[in-house]
């Protein structure tokens, strides 16, 4: 079965870039551009891993994280932060985020991290 990844960022371009990157790596990828969409997509697409931007309009990353983790605690969520949102990392980790990465990203590290989360799921 294909690895399923949900990308959530209000910037469409970022989603599109990462989508093609992960599709090249044999992932099945869905995208969402707000917290509300993200929760909907988790319900319908059932991803293994969610890459969730912490700062978005219309329900921010933290609220989306809370809902996702309440309904689907098995889904792995990696938060994406920027320098100016680093103060929210702690809150995210308390809400059950599985990891966080900071923009600008290292593609190699990102891929490794997503891969690890998938593997940890398979291990359960």
């Amino acid at each position: 079965m294909k690895k399923k990844l949900l990308l959530v960022d209000d910037e469409v371009e970022i989603c599109e870039f990462l989508k093609s990157f992960f599709e090249d790596r044999d992932y099945q990828v869905a995208t969402a551009h707000s917290g509300v969409q993200a929760v909907e997509q988790v319900e319908s697409f059932r991803p293994d891993v969610v890459l969730l931007d912490i700062q978005m309009p219309e329900m921010d990353g933290l609220s989306a994280l809370r809902e996702i983790k309440e309904k689907y605690p098995r889904v792995k969520v990696i938060m994406v932060t920027a320098v100016e949102t680093q103060d929210r990392i702690e809150a995210a980790m308390r809400l059950g985020a599985d990891n966080y990465i900071t923009k600008p990203l290292s593609l190699e590290y990102l891929e490794k991290d997503v891969q690890e989360k998938i593997e940890s799921l398979a291990g359960i």
Partner: protein
Amino acid sequence: MTNLTRTNRQKKTEQKFDYQEALRDVARSMVRLKRPDRLLKLITRFIDRQFGLHHTSLLVHEPSKNRYVFVNSKGARRVPAGLLKFDSDHPLIRWFALPRRKTPFQEDYLLLTDIKKTLNKAHFRLAADSRASELVKVQKTMEVLRVELVIPGYFKNDLVGILMLGGKFSGRFFTSSEILFFQTLAHDCSMAIKTAEYNQSLLEKNRELENRLQEIEKLRHKEQRTYYEIIRSLAEEVEAKEPTVFGHVSQVEKLGMMTARELGIDLSGQHKDILSAALMLHDVGKIGVPDHILMKPGSLTPEEWEVMKSHVEKGAKILEPLSDFRKVKEIILSHHERFDGTGYPRGLKGEDILIEARIVSVVDSFHAIVSNRCYREGRSIDFALQELEHCAGTQFDPQVVEAFIRVIRREIAKGRIDVTALQH
């Protein structure tokens, strides 16, 4: 590629595209644009439009974090600004960064097609195993980002930026003159970035220095002000010890300033403050003279007289920490010198004595004559002026005496001098 085919290709492309002209445009933009981010944007857009590439990306070194961030990107496979970075230990960065090694292609660029060819060469794989594995990683990065050509930009020996280019829509290869053009462009960008960085840090440093200097100057000024006030109260203390000369200081100051003006001395800016301070503080050293000498009704013994005379040096010493009033100290030290060279403490003569000191000397003596002292009644103004005239050329500078007499006569005529007030 042989030199011959290279030249031929170059000629061919030059007909299509004037690189010289394009570079001149860029150079002109560099001069116009003070902010390098706008220049980089401009260059990215320029390459994107001019060469028909799948994408064009520019990475810039962030010195504070020692990483390379994608700042500008154009085309279908563009990398959103600020999304990706290469850390300094990334294989691609290591490939180009210090120490600058020659790539196997003898050039400062990497073409994906060349890498493939090189990796296929058995001797390269065998000769430089670690280099080959590094090159494999570089190749992978280029493939992931769909990059065909990588051009590093250096300033001196620092890798400042990297130009990453996707393939051409036409499917054609990059020509050597195109690569050369990109290299020049990358070099120009690096220079612009570094110059802007340098200017920025210089500006900041300058501003910081200026602020600090201003603060120091303010503090110093405040300190000097405080010290000056202390000395002034000391001077008042001295006067209080000799109740009969109360008012002396302000009188001496007023008459002294008028005499200086009469002599046409430059009293602009600090000059005025210096003379004023000297006139007011000239006897401050008396604070160090014991009261029994200072207030002795009878005449002083030679020993007592020596102590009395030391007040000029003591005054100068008190003034020493006031760097703004270095000249005041000199005036105070010299106000008992005599024009003929027989005064104290140094026996200076004529014009070797500061003009300000010569003024203080005349005004102070005048005042001493007319004032009531603990040992005698004050004399009349006429008597005092006669005395000054008598001593002009020996004790006093005759020109100062003349000017002073003119001032006094004018002031009396205008009713501004109250003879009894002087005689306190």
